[in-house]
């Protein structure tokens, strides 16, 4: 009985220490104005993406054509104007945020899971396994990310799922490298030796002891990679290898709108600005997280 | 001391580093003189402000955060602190040169060493590139490196050889003052002796003055004419070799002597100076050495002791000596 209370207080203390670590990180984040700007914008985008249907209905507003109102500039009724089919651009952008964030996050998850597992295996077992895995990753890395994604889409055909897989696989080597490096740096430290000494299994050691130690570089890289993924999605859709019409993907909107650039430039200007602000915010947030999570790296 | 024989005259120099964590008072009212052709040893622990003093003479203190707040530096009749950018550039490398502590990092890794020496001639003398290279080769021979090796890059030399290159570079334009900042600290003991011997020879050959910065009292005894002992940014004792070694006046100097092993008296125990240097962002009001001094009395903590002359050549800043008189 006494033992269990002691264990409970210990757990409590551990929780407390974790919490104070979090407040310290949060304090550092708050001092970084650019990072806070990024955080606010990203939060707004997430909220908008989640409540897209409440803001503007998909079937009746975002993809329903209304030729009478085509190519109108921004007005009180249509905040961002209308496109070549008379659809409300603002509504399309709102639903586009949903697509972009979804593709970005799922792609990064794919990259994280595949890259993470491969990196952990390579780092933990070393030797030939490590060599084979990392050489394959090097080959992946030696192809530019966009070309790699184009290649995978070319092979699998263009659909949202294939797009996610393509972009995810293209980012996989980065995570493999991070996880492998982290594993190598903690593998021989005493607490891992200790865990092994008391008979912990390999998968238990990797999950419970090694993974938490590479969390901060992963969080930072994941944030930055979501930005890359969104940019790649837009690029692929722009060259008609990504998400197809009538879905309101930002890059696809630019592609179909470019024919009207002379008469209705807002069709092209507004979605592009939104992409830029999204990427900028994610990058600022990622950089801010890096500084907050690892003050040693700060210049 | 308005003497034409004085080459370098530093009066009451103060230097601060203004950082985010506070103002570091690195040098606090430092004074020293060097006569022409003489070698002055500047002795003290790491952090006493020796290197900062040396860099002030070249006006190479990184700014920001470093600021010279007070004092004067006169070198060969010129007011260094009032000198303009071009005047300083002309002076560095020709009137005064400096040898840095770590030869491993003080040469540009991507240029051949010969070219780096030749650069000094190109900067200060109106001569052709070929002529400069030729004289760089002569300089290398002078410090004991075959001229042919001028084509090699720094990473192809050992530490001692690199320091020879640095010496060749420093002496290329016949400076009147050579500042050597712990020139042998980073070298092996056997190499140390070689480099010191070389410096001594070259110094008398060119009739230069030298400011030898070191914490090694053995080196001081070997190459210096006079010694200034520095503590927390000030000179606490100054004198000739004999004054300092035979008639040690300041408790800190005494502490330094007790901290070095003596081969002749192995039975003697080392007596280290207790404690650490005071925090330069927060100096105590009185004598900065008082907290570590075994002779300290209550008055030591009240005011900074003034420098008093014990003889024509010997001066000390300690309240105990004042009382004796």
């Amino acid at each position: 009985m006494k033992n269990s209370t002691a264990a409970a207080t210990e757990k409590e203390q551990l929780k407390k220490r974790k919490r104070s670590q979090m407040t310290e990180i949060w304090r550092r984040m708050r001092r970084n104005r650019l990072a806070m700007f990024g955080l606010v914008i990203v939060s707004i985008l997430i909220i908008v993406a989640v409540f897209a249907n409440q803001i503007a209905d998909y079937n009746t507003v975002a993809i329903k054509q209304n030729v009478v109102e085509r190519l109108q500039g921004p007005s009180a009724e249509h905040w961002a104007g209308t496109d070549e089919f008379g659809r409300d651009i603002f509504a399309r952008l709102v639903h586009g945020a949903r697509i972009s964030l979804l593709v970005g996050v799922v792609a990064v998850c794919i990259a994280l899971v595949t890259g993470g597992i491969l990196g952990a295996i390579a780092g933990y077992f070393g030797g030939t396994v490590d060599n084979v895995i990392m050489r394959i990753m090097d080959i992946f890395l030696s192809i530019p990310i966009l070309l790699l994604a184009i290649m995978i889409v070319a092979a699998l055909g263009s659909s949202m799922l294939n797009l996610m897989i393509a972009i995810g696989l293209a980012s996989m080597p980065t995570f493999a490298r991070i996880v492998r490096a982290s594993v190598l740096s903690v593998k021989d430290q005493e607490f891992v030796e200790a865990a092994r000494a008391i008979g912990a299994k390999n998968d238990h050691i990797i999950l419970r002891h090694i993974m938490p130690n590479c969390l901060s570089p992963i969080i930072v890289q994941a944030t930055l990679r979501v930005a890359t993924a969104i940019l790649s999605t837009a690029s692929l859709s722009f060259i008609s290898l990504g998400i197809q019409a009538p879905a309101p993907e930002w890059g696809a909107m630019l592609a179909s709108g470019r024919a009207y650039i002379r008469d209705a430039p807002h069709i092209v200007i507004i979605p592009g600005l939104l992409i830029m602000i999204t990427i900028l915010s994610l990058n600022l947030l990622g950089d801010g997280l890096r500084d907050a999570l690892d003050p040693k790296l700060k210049r | 001391m308005n003497n034409h024989n004085i080459l370098l005259d530093i009066q009451n120099l103060s230097v601060e580093f203004r950082t985010d964590d506070g103002v570091v008072k690195a040098v606090n009212g430092m004074s020293l003189q060097i006569e022409r052709g003489k070698t002055l040893g500047l002795v003290g622990e790491t952090g006493a402000g020796k290197t900062t003093t040396a860099l002030s003479i070249l006006r190479l203190i990184p700014d920001p955060p470093g600021v010279i707040t007070d004092g004067s530096i006169t070198l060969d009749g010129e007011d260094i602190l009032a000198a303009g950018k071009h005047q300083l550039e002309k002076m560095r490398g020709s009137l005064v040169s400096m040898i840095f502590q770590d030869p491993m990092t003080s040469l540009d890794p991507v240029l051949p060493v010969g070219e780096q020496i030749a650069e000094v001639y190109i900067l200060h003398e109106r001569i052709s590139r070929q002529e400069a290279e030729k004289r760089a080769g002569e300089m290398l021979e002078l410090v004991g490196i075959p001229a042919l090796r001028g084509r090699d890059y720094p990473h192809q030399f050992s530490g001692g050889m690199k320091q020879r290159v640095v010496i060749a570079m420093a002496l290329a334009c016949n400076p009147k003052l050579l500042i050597a900042d712990e020139p042998t600290t980073a070298l092996d003991v056997t190499i140390q002796a070689q480099v010191l011997k070389l410096m001594k020879e070259l110094k008398s050959k060119y009739d230069m003055s030298m400011l030898m910065i070191t914490h090694d009292l053995g080196i001081v005894a070997e190459v210096c004419d006079e010694v200034s002992v520095m503590y927390a940014g000030r000179v606490v004792e100054h004198g000739t070799l004999e004054d300092i070694y035979e008639h040690t006046a300041h408790p800190y100097t005494e502490g330094l002597f007790h901290s070095i092993p003596n081969i002749d008296a192995r039975a003697r125990r080392l007596i280290p100076i207790p404690g650490l240097m005071p925090d330069p962002t927060d100096l105590p009001p009185g004598c900065p050495f008082a907290p570590r001094c075994s002779y300290a009395v209550e008055e030591c903590g009240k005011a900074l002791p003034a420098s008093i002359s014990l003889s024509d050549t010997h001066s000390v800043a300690c309240i105990l000596r004042q009382k004796e008189e």
Partner: protein, 308 residues
């Protein structure tokens, strides 16, 4: 030096094989029967089987790969399914356009990014430094193809100063090159700045100052050469990104390069052309990295002497 270059070339061979094999395997995963595509929907089973035999599609994939690479060495990358023209000559004829674009993009980025980085580093925290940092942040965030459209809107449509594309004159390359160069410019600027800041704190820079060199000489002759070493790595990596960007930019500015050929062929499911384009890109990128490594050795003498 020769030994070093030789060794680098040797090290490149497995990478080229690996990359081309990866591309080959992935494209072979494409669902659908290429023989059927060639034969057309109406062709009977016998014709399809005959075409399959002719194209060597019956052989094991690895055998197909070896045949393909052997053919490539002789300038034979198969024929296009849609036009019947040889893929090799098709790609070769479009290469100059893509290379000009990529080279011009790198040139823009080097000429703007590196000087801006130097100025930012030497005048750290000045207004100029803050402005260029801000520009770099937006430059990286901007979608390349959108920037292209904006430049067309302003300089071609509104002001009418420059053509909106086409490879007919050198002016046609200005907007695409600037578009392509912006992201890389931002990258070069940031790398040069941080590398420069690191280098000017080094002891040897203090030595140069102590020699009496003026600030200009300190920065340009000594600091820059040392600071460029990491920048060159980034330039090598960026050329890959730039090649990817060139693919998209060719569409924006209607430049008939390899990228446009590739995208059109993907849409037409013209497998030999897609494969040829991708392998070409991969090989070119490996060659660029080889070149960067050699350049490296010229700037950093420490690398050379490891291979004496």
């Amino acid at each position: 030096m020769h030994k070093y270059i030789f060794k680098r070339i040797l090290m490149m061979i497995p990478v080229v094989i690996g990359v081309s094999l990866l591309v080959f395997m992935v494209l072979k995963m494409t669902p659908g029967d290429p023989a059927r595509v060639v034969a057309g929907a109406e062709a009977d089973e016998a014709t399809v089987a005959q075409i399959r035999e002719e194209l060597g599609l019956n052989k094991p994939v690895l055998q197909q790969y070896v045949d393909y690479m052997a053919g490539m060495l002789h300038g034979d990358m198969g024929n296009s399914y849609t036009t019947g023209k040889p893929v090799f000559s098709e790609i070769l004829s479009r290469m100059p356009t893509t290379f000009t674009l990529a080279f011009a993009g790198v040139l823009v980025a080097v000429l703007i990014g590196i000087p801006l980085g130097i100025i930012s580093a030497t005048k750290q925290y000045s207004i100029l430094d803050n402005i260029s940092t801000l520009l770099a942040l937006t430059g990286v965030a901007m979608p390349n193809f959108w920037l292209g459209l904006m430049l067309i809107l302003v300089f071609a449509l509104q002001l009418g100063w420059l053509p909106s594309g086409g490879a007919t004159s050198w002016q046609g390359y200005i907007l695409p090159a600037v578009t392509l160069g912006v992201g890389a410019t931002a990258n070069f600027m940031r790398t040069t700045r941080s590398s420069m800041l690191e280098v000017i704190r080094q002891d040897y820079i203090r030595t140069v100052r102590a020699k009496g060199a003026n600030e200009q000489r300190v920065i340009l002759r000594h600091a820059l050469r040392n600071a460029l070493i990491p920048v060159i790595t980034v330039i090598g990596l960026q050329i890959g990104t730039l090649l990817g960007g060139a693919v998209v930019n060719e569409t924006v500015f209607s430049l008939p390069g390899v990228g446009m050929l590739m995208i059109n062929s993907i849409n037409k499911k013209d497998e030999p052309v897609v494969l040829g384009c991708l392998i070409t890109f991969a090989v070119v990128f490996s060659l660029v990295n080889l070149f960067v490594d050699i350049l490296y050795a010229y700037i950093d003498p420490r690398i050379k002497s490891q291979y004496r």
